[in-house]
Amino acid sequence: MVLTGIRANTLKPYALWWLVFLLPLLPLVWLFEQAWSMNLGADPAQAIVKFTGLWTLRLLWITLAVTPLRRIFHWGWLQRYRRMLGLYALFYAMVHLLAFATFILGWRPDLLWRELSERPYIVVGSLALLLLIPLGITSTRGMQRRLGARWVKLHRLVYVIALLAMVHFIWQIRSSFEDQLFYGVILAALLGYRIWMRRNSLKRKNLLR
């Protein structure tokens, strides 16, 4: 009995880990299935790039939601999945860029250069991805320990990255700003929460003094 009790305890977070590991893969599986069965319309390239871009944004936003959710609802367990969610955002961003370079530009060097030098929204998007890479590399526990306080500072870059990703998204508006407004409002709430927390903690410090 005691043994099964221990087992259940170790199994539970283990199952949750698998859930968080597998769930973000579902969109990609769905995309593969749709592409395979020729269900992405007359321009599957554009559909794939758009889809992976949107999921990058979603995963980045979800990663940024971990801290507020954990604090507001006292969900301490959420914290341990933040790294995985963040890495998934990086993963989708890379798939997004690879899909763009392969399916839209065909890896033509002249086009790659042209897109990167002429299309400002692509420059901004690439910069966001570029900044995300060091965060991915330093996401391990070992790196976290080694960098200490500097790790926290470095990983604040995620706010800049989220803003760049938002600009990348806004810059593509043709005639409707519905989606951009939706994601913009959520980002504003996620970043606003941090500003609000910081101001509160500063106030508390001042009161203590």
Partner: protein
């Protein structure tokens, strides 16, 4: 010499609808009975092999004869391979039905396009509101295979059926004051969900315009059909403009009003973002959209792993025919 004569018998009286819905089957049936009516060498529309499971758009009864009698205009047709029918009817911009490329095909199926009235107004001697049927009656339809270049840097080759806009305009006798033509799309937010959107920056109804000499140019097409079928609702039924040397957004769909005017009319995209979309909107690889390059385009359908990227040509490859319209104009300025 044999000259092709139009049959005076209504074709619907010869062939039951079930037969002529499918052009290939119709032609097979025709071969047995009225083969003599077809002149040898006359370029009849080839039998398009539309899959049975693809949606068919036979169009109103009154259009059947004209569609069937249409002949390809070889001089105005590219020999490039047309995009598959299924691609053309499921991938296009028609913001009245949503922003996604597949929205029009998904949301326009109930769009009522017959009966349809068109107003001819402004600087003409014979203004009035006409039934589309009456408007089209005198015009023989031609098939023309045109390249269509979207401002978003993708393109398709499309076999339209229609006739020159100029032939229509002449019938209404433009006055000497007619310098431009303004076109208006239907405004009906009941039927067009995109017009109800709170987030759209476009003003409805959609309006477009051409300079008089552009409108009178024989390449400027009023299309009523596609791939031997009537125009599907998502592609701008019952009739639309096709200006092959300009970006696709100039080719206004589901027209309800044609007004001849003295001053350059406002156009929808130009009003929304005048720095990005000009009145002329001639396809020009040397003038980029402020946010992206126009030097190349992706010709659809395009395979995923070797994208079909082609160089965009000045005036979309129709420079020999139309460049003269703009001689002396600074195309960087009048983009």
């Amino acid at each position: 010499m044999l000259i092709k004569r139009r049959s005076s018998i209504k074709s619907s009286e010869i062939t039951p609808e079930s037969v002529y819905v499918n052009r290939r089957r119709f032609l097979q049936g025709l071969a047995g009975t009225t083969a003599l009516a077809l002149t040898p060498g006359a370029s009849a529309i080839p039998a398009y092999s539309l899959d049975k499971d693809q949606p068919q758009y036979p169009g109103p009864d009154w259009l059947q004869g004209a569609l069937r009698d249409s002949v390809r205009n070889e001089a105005f047709s590219t020999d490039e391979k047309p995009a598959p029918y299924g691609n053309i009817i499921t991938h296009n911009n028609f913001y009245e039905f949503g922003l996604g490329k597949q929205d029009p095909s998904q949301k326009a199926q109930a769009f009522k396009t017959d009966p349809w009235k068109v107003e001819i107004a402004g600087e003409v001697n014979k203004p009035g509101v006409y039934n589309l049927e009456d408007l089209l009656r005198p015009h023989a339809l031609e098939e023309r295979i045109y390249r269509l270049r979207c401002v978003e840097a993708w393109s398709m080759v499309i076999p339209w059926m229609g006739f020159s806009l100029g032939d229509l305009l002449k019938r209404f006798e433009p006055t000497s004051k007619a310098k431009y033509v303004e076109f208006t799309t239907l405004q009906d937010s009941e039927q067009m969900p995109g017009q109800r959107s709170f987030f759209s920056t476009l003003d409805w109804p959609y309006v477009e315009g051409l300079r008089m000499d552009e409108a009178m140019h024989p390449l400027t097409l009023l299309a009523v059909g596609l791939y031997g079928n009537a125009l599907p609702p998502q592609n701008g039924a019952p009739f639309r403009l096709v200006v092959p040397w300009k970006y696709g957004f100039k080719s206004i769909k589901s027209i309800v009003k044609i007004r001849l005017v003295e001053e350059m009319p406002g156009t929808t995209w130009n009003r929304t973002a005048s720095g990005e979309y000009g009145f002329y909107a001639n396809v020009n690889p040397a003038v980029d959209h402020p946010r992206w390059s126009q030097a190349t385009e992706r010709r659809l359908p395009s395979s995923l792993f070797s994208p079909n990227i082609v160089d965009t040509r000045p005036f979309n490859g129709y420079a020999d025919e139309v460049a003269g319209l703009y001689s002396g104009m600074d195309l960087q300025r009048w983009f």
